[in-house]
Symmetry: C2
């Protein structure tokens, strides 16, 4: 029976029972964590071969004879470009292979656009910001670390609602056509953080084709989960750069990816894909900033994976470890919450998150109840700019990191907390 | 006999002989390089053990249990701080251990100061630059990549002459006391690039104590060669941060170092040392930019070196390979050029360079002659801001990279080119 259809007495009884069960768990003094999208130690163990992929002096040379131990090659070694280009769906002329963090590349690109401009003649964003507040589009719910970057750089962030097809493109098209102070949009187009949805072909095409008042508008296309499938029915994402080329808008596209959740979050490689013009511009700025990324770590990745197929095969091993964790949480929610009609959540085919929408006004309370019972969640609101979820409804569940027994326990406590918050909301 | 004392006929005869010898070398079609301060392959081979210092899953954990493969720790692992803190002469609370390039940290710090300010309440440099041209002090001759960064960020660079004690502090003190548009100074305080000199105690103290009109003036103390001694009579450098603390000026000091010339230029670790206030400020900005540096590579360094003493012992192996290369060049210069009285050069106790001052107006000609005979040097002028050596005199010789036989040949051709240019200058 749905909770909203219960009589007052039924609701009170349900609340009392649930609270008792919750208190029993709370008394255990647990310490469980479903907060961050981190690979588990089991997943990291899959990559052990990477550690010794370059183990002697003679292993340190690239195919063209470059000594990867020494200075040089600001945009990555050729064979690394070759195996990672298919990951982003770009050519080897449209990719840079860099350090250990795509987030850092995004931050640095925005910093460069602030100080030097986007390279097409438009004034640096920092100069434009003298006269008007610059703005940024933020599909919500989204990735807290994206929002933190644009907040720090002083952009006014505008929430864009999303559904199962991606962001609301009617709204985006209208805004960017009218307002030249809007300089960019954050997108996680595949297995989005946190919703798990993949942008539809139509959404991708509209991003590629839309008219923008600002000639220096940029799409930050963080394709962090592009090969992170969970099952045999993966989503498919249209290639934004190719679609943008057809419309003559290729310079608005900046694509990012990394091996943070392929090899190691702390010691992987990150990639940047863009039009040849954008690559040339960013490279020209980077030659002042860097004498080159860690080429030896790039070589490790090349020797470990050999080909792009080697990477996608490796991802199946990750899926085998992650899929049961998603299932553990989803089963609990299906069994305990679905019949009550008090929440919605996503069942993604990939990525790292389940996005959970509680009844309005309940997310903070749920996180508080979980915390008091020893379960850490990403803070309510974190999936919105400024940490402000206007509905106080969305919670990001990250099931990958904990051991599965802990996860089952955490999911149980989460479900109890959802029930309690809903009862309270309904007047119990 | 000194060249200037020769009769016209003697000079002509000397010129003719030298030119003949030069042409013989030129006819060989050589390809030699004394341009960049790069370690040789032999030096890089010294560090082979680093490659397998972390080779299995169980090796990947820091002393405190941190899994170095996963996300986290934005400012470096504790044991890396411990072994590198003595290198900069700071405490473990005054250091960050980061990625593979100190140059990148310097660039990023300036970028942050442009956009966000230095953290002491002064306006961001980018905002201040609206109303006045900002300036930067550049001891010359100096490091071309330093100058390129401040040029790119739009600073007007002011040349500061240096002697064997360091930069001209009378000039610096006067300038910074009067002009609050001067925001910083580049320093390579030990075995300077390219002069090889080490700043005297007095110079360091005056940097620490001087009054600056700008409250956001910063000393970029690039201590790239602090442990890069060539012999048993190393220079000693006073600790700038400690001296600055005594004067209450510790926040003006930003110190940099790396293992680029200790382990690998392409795959080492870089360190940043500063007051606790500066470290806290930069860390607060970096938490938005990065989820942490490559901790696994830090762990490799820790396991390979074990202690700071392990690092300094390792440097002796480098010295054993580099010192003969310096000697090869210096011997040639002492034998061939010294008697002629047409140039001066440095004989450093460490570092990577010999700084050569030819007769005024001869540097470009010497580099041209060398190039035509197949010897690549750092371009004349590169050691000055904007590539402009007003005397056209200074040439940076980098003897570390070529095999010693090639180096001897290159030094021979260099000496011949110096003689030819001097003869031409004297009217031959």
């Amino acid at each position: 029976m749905e909770l909203a259809e219960m009589k007052k007495s039924e609701l009170e009884q349900f609340y009392k029972q649930t609270k008792e069960e919750y208190e029993n768990y709370k008394a255990k003094g647990l310490s469980l964590n479903m907060a961050r999208g981190k690979p588990s130690a089991e997943q990291l163990d899959l990559t052990e071969g990477l550690l010794s992929a370059v183990k002697s002096n003679k292993d340190c040379y690239a195919e063209d004879g470059t000594d990867c131990r020494n200075y040089g090659i600001v945009d990555g070694i050729a064979e690394a470009k070759k195996i990672f280009a298919p990951m982003l769906g770009v050519s080897e002329k449209e990719i840079m292979v860099l350090g250990n963090s795509s987030l850092t590349i995004m931050y640095d690109n925005i910093a460069k656009f602030m100080v030097f401009g986007t390279g097409n003649g438009a004034e640096p964003w920092g100069i434009q910001a003298r006269d008007k507040k610059l703005k940024w589009l933020c599909p919500v719910p989204g990735y807290d670390r994206h929002f933190l970057i644009t907040e720090k750089f002083g952009f006014e962030m505008i929430n864009i609602p999303t559904d199962e097809n991606g962001p609301n493109m009617d709204m985006i098209e209208k805004l960017v056509a009218e307002d030249d102070s809007i300089k960019g949009v954050w997108c996680v187009p595949m297995y989005a953080n946190p919703t798990g949805i993949t942008f539809s072909d139509e959404v991708v095409r509209r991003f590629a084709q839309m008219k923008t008042a600002a000639n220096d508008f940029r799409i930050f296309w963080d394709n962090a989960y592009c090969i992170h499938h969970l099952n045999d029915t993966p989503d498919k994402l249209l290639n934004l750069l190719e679609e943008a080329k057809k419309a003559g808008n290729e310079d608005r596209v900046l694509m990012y990816g990394s091996t943070s959740k392929v090899t190691y979050p702390g010691a992987g490689v990150a990639v940047f894909g863009a039009s040849e013009a954008n690559i040339a511009y960013i490279r020209s700025l980077m030659t002042v900033q860097s004498i080159g990324p860690d080429k030896l770590n790039q070589l490790r990745h090349v020797k470990f994976f050999k080909t792009f197929d080697g990477i996608t095969e490796h991802m199946k091993k990750h899926a085998a470890l992650i899929e049961p964790r998603f299932k553990a949480v989803l089963d609990e929610l299906d069994r305990e919450i679905a019949p009550l009609g008090i929440a919605k959540w996503t069942k993604p085919n990939g990525g790292y998150f389940i996005s959970f929408d509680a009844m309005k006004g309940c997310a903070k309370r749920i996180c508080q109840l979980c915390k008091e019972a020893g379960v850490i969640l990403t803070g309510a609101g974190a999936t919105f700019p400024y940490g402000n979820d206007p509905d106080d409804s969305n919670i990001r569940i990250a099931p990958t990191y904990p051991p599965i027994e802990e996860l089952e326990l955490a999911a149980r406590i989460f479900a109890l907390s959802v029930k309690i918050a809903a009862c309270e909301k309904l007047g119990a």
